[in-house]
């Protein structure tokens, strides 16, 4: 995995998408695409050869948890790294996301350092598993 990895950011707030995109650009990831909820993101994922998914939970249309489940249920996408970036902070929600197969969970408000750490950790685990 290199810096030309293809990211998809899914969040219903354009400002949050922009913040994440900026942070990713700062980390050297320039290939970033955006979607505003699971319903728009899923077909993009299916046809887009994405390397990494960063998604919010609470969105109109398809929420992030359902998107995660749909991704894990699709044989082509099942191994896609998924980072949840959300304000949802209930313990049972985090457990539910973990059970659904999330690779990382960052709660909002977050820092650039946290985002970098989680992305690096996920990519490291991928590299070790490969």
């Amino acid at each position: 995995m290199s810096k030309d990895m293809k990211f998809l950011i899914v969040d219903d707030f354009s400002t949050m998408r922009r913040i994440i995109k900026n942070l990713l650009n700062d980390l050297g990831y320039a290939n970033v695409t955006e979607a505003d909820d699971g319903t728009t993101a899923l077909p993009m994922l299916k046809s887009g050869n994405f390397d990494f998914l960063i998604t919010d939970w609470n969105m109109p249309g398809m929420p992030g948890l359902e998107l995660l489940k749909a991704v894990r249920a699709d044989p082509k996408l099942a191994k896609l790294p998924v980072l949840m970036l959300t304000a949802e902070a209930k313990r049972e929600q985090i457990i539910e996301a973990a059970q659904a197969g999330v690779n990382g969970y960052v709660i909002k408000p977050f820092t650039a350092v946290t985002l970098k750490e989680k992305i690096d950790k996920i990519l490291e685990q991928r590299a070790n598993a490969a």
């Binding site: 400002t15 922009r18 900026n22 948890l65 304000a87 949802e88 902070a89 985090i94 999330v102």
Partner: protein
């Protein structure tokens, strides 16, 4: 009428019999005494009914007052509050984008200043060490002229943008006022509904747990959310580590 004939018999039977006896015996005074007692008892019942009717009327009037306020709240003020909150959303969205636009404009200017200063520093170091050739020095002076002029312009732009970033935070004041207004409305709505529930005396289940957990609860609000929530990213990390993620 809830009074059955048997209870009427129990209540008035002895009195009517006593009256009938007094009449048969020709005791006028005793008859009148029994008749007065009978009338008095009826009056007491009548007053009791009248009191109940008055209370019911009062409750009906109170209910009407609450009902009409509720209709007013539901028809006018709640949709109005929705518009106001929409406006808050728009204000915060615009302010966030404006701030990011300004910051993004500043970034290349700062990058350019840092890069050019780095280039000049190299020549400057050699100049200080007296290792520079005349032609190189001339180039350095030219470079310095350009750098100073460009940096002055760039930093003026950065300064202007920073002032605008501060200005863009004005949304907090406006949105805060709107939110406070909506909070007042929610408070009134709550009081009106509680009044209505009190009048209706329905003690139905009030705190129904939302089953729509799949959509998420939104950000944790101090003093509002109950239930086990994590306190920060560290808490999330240890929870996930425990789950093997």
């Amino acid at each position: 009428m809830t009074t059955s004939i048997s209870s009427l018999r129990d209540e008035y039977g002895p009195l009517v019999a006593a009256m009938s006896d007094a009449l048969a015996a020709g005791d006028q005074a005793l008859f009148h005494a029994h008749l007065d007692a009978l009338v008095h008892r009826r009056e007491a019942d009548l007053f009791k009914e009248l009191r109940k009717l008055t209370t019911d009327l009062q409750a009906a009037l109170e209910r009407f007052r609450i009902d009409s306020r509720l209709v007013d709240l539901a028809e006018k003020e709640v949709p109005n509050a929705k518009h106001r909150l929409d406006h808050v959303l728009r204000l915060t969205d615009e302010a966030a984008h404006r701030t990011m636009d300004l910051v993004e404009e500043c970034r290349p200017l700062a990058d350019r200043a840092a890069k050019q200063a780095g280039e000049i520093m190299d020549g400057w170091r050699r100049f200080r060490a007296r290792e520079i050739k005349v032609e190189e020095f001339q180039r350095l002076v030219l470079q310095m002229d350009q750098f100073l002029a460009a940096t002055r312009g760039d930093m003026e732009k950065v300064r202007g943008n920073l002032a605008e970033v501060v200005l863009a935070q004005g949304y907090q004041d406006l949105s805060g006022q709107i939110i406070r207004g909506v909070m007042k409305l929610v408070d009134e709505l709550e009081h009106t509904l509680v009044g209505l529930v009190r009048l209706s005396k329905t003690d139905g289940e009030m705190n129904r747990e939302s089953d729509d957990a799949r959509r998420g609860f939104g950000p944790a609000v101090p003093g509002v959310d109950h239930g086990a929530a994590v306190s920060g990213q560290q808490d999330v990390d240890s929870l996930l580590a425990g789950l093997g993620v």
